[in-house]
Symmetry: C2
Subunit: 243 residues, 2 copies
DNA sequence: TCACAGGACGAACATTGTTCGTAGCAGCGA
DNA sequence: TCGCTGCTACGAACAATGTTCGTCCTGTGA
């Protein structure tokens, strides 16, 4: 339980790699938490989250893996910091509006999804731990504001914020998995899967019948559908008597 | 791309560990796919999904890790088989009923969650790959039947089946993570988190205000809420004009 | 200038998934 | 019954990973 809440309100964290002098650094470098997360972000965007290993991050900094452990508790903490950094790329609405609250909700969910998908593999990491960093907190705060402004009860707002986040992150994870799977085998997968479903033995009449509906929708369509269902359902539940 | 679809319609897969003769087996054992999955299931239930390593499974069978690779493509395939075996423990309704379709839906979601949580760590694995095994297919078939019997359009049924599965599995994953985290540090975590939220700086008025609502609901309550929202939303969307 | 404390880092350890090469068993034809 | 052939169980090893230990350097205060 180190002081993870300290040194948070800095906005100059994202500086990309100040070229101090030259690639040769005979001087002993000064390693910082922020520098480590910077290096991890570079590796993340270049090779994906699975490539964010202690060695890769260290090499990106021009040192060995042992050098990280004086500033970061372990890979877990490093990944948490990385996730929060990604979440920090998202914009949050200035002020919640009572009329446009569902639009704001949709917008925030879209933005979360976008930043997650912009960094391949990070959704899986985000799913692993509950959001605890300052940027995630800021997002939760804003989300709660929108929900309450929409007239939802406190109880429903509290539950809905978790539900929406779970949906957005897990949906991004699935999209990510599917995307990299498609990237691996370049054959167009939905068509093959549809053929497979359609050719199933007759024990599966519904799957055979709905082969197209099961395989054709894009990830975006699925996401939009989920968003419609969730927001509609939350609205209905939140405006009845009490949840 | 091996013949993964072959040898599927066997129901005697679940036999627990026939004690052939004695722990000493001077005879060369006959290793089968089913035997490997059996052993993996034993390790899973004993030590959790993270402990399902090639070595652990092999040791459970009294052999070395290399012996598995003649029957299983790799750890991925082994885990897929394991997930499908777990899904197979779930009961599916005999026939879809037009009146009780939402009850049947809830029941199936509950059952899925139950079997997932009965095997610690398996939800994470189930989340990784889209369901492809015969048991998952049977479940999807049944789910589709219930949704169509409920009067939903084909399009909505196809999307809803994915959405529901995503919610159930990811929610089980979160419950699993939380459970093992609580098991690790035996202090009661929700209370601590609530205190942390309540003591946040005033930049977070909503989180401070809803600290209790955010931390107190149990995993079951969250799950029930999500189910209410999803089924309500699906119902509303499926019975309007067209999705 | 000098001693000290903190940290950068080389090397190593344990654990993982996976592959190679060997050797032994099973089944089959004679 | 005997020998051959092909499949396969499996010991050993390899590469990659997270993490720790001990050493030595370096910046800093007196």
């Amino acid at each position: 339980m180190t002081d993870r809440t300290r040194s948070r309100d800095r906005d100059d964290v994202g500086l990309p790699d100040p070229p101090w002098r030259s690639p040769r650094r005979p001087l002993r470098r000064r390693i910082t938490r922020e520098g480590i997360v910077d290096a991890a972000a570079v590796v993340l965007d270049r090779d994906g989250a699975d490539a964010v290993t202690a060695r890769a991050v260290a090499e990106q900094m021009g040192t060995g893996p042992a050098s990280l452990y004086a500033h970061v508790d372990g890979k877990n903490e490093l990944l948490e910091l990385l996730v929060d950094r990604v979440i920090g790329e998202m914009a949050v609405p200035e002020e919640a509006s009572a009329e446009r609250w569902t639009d704001q909700l949709r917008q925030m969910c879209h933005d979360t999804r976008t930043v997650l998908l912009a960094h391949p593999g990070i959704a899986k990491v985000a799913l692993a731990g509950p959001p605890s960093g300052p940027n995630a907190l800021r997002r939760t705060e804003s989300l709660l504001g929108v929900l309450r402004t929409g007239g939802l009860s406190d109880q429903v707002a509290g539950l809905a914020v978790d539900l929406l986040s779970l949906f957005v992150v897990s949906s991004a994870y699935e999209a990510d998995v599917r995307r990299s799977a498609v990237a691996a085998s370049e054959t167009d997968w939905p068509a093959k899967l549809e053929g497979y479903f359609a050719a199933l033995p007759p024990h599966y009449p519904n799957i055979i019948d709905l082969a197209a509906e099961l395989t054709r929708p894009s990830e975006v369509e699925r996401f939009e559908f989920g968003l419609d269902v969730l927001i509609g359902g939350i609205r209905a539940l939140g405006h009845s008597a009490d949840g």
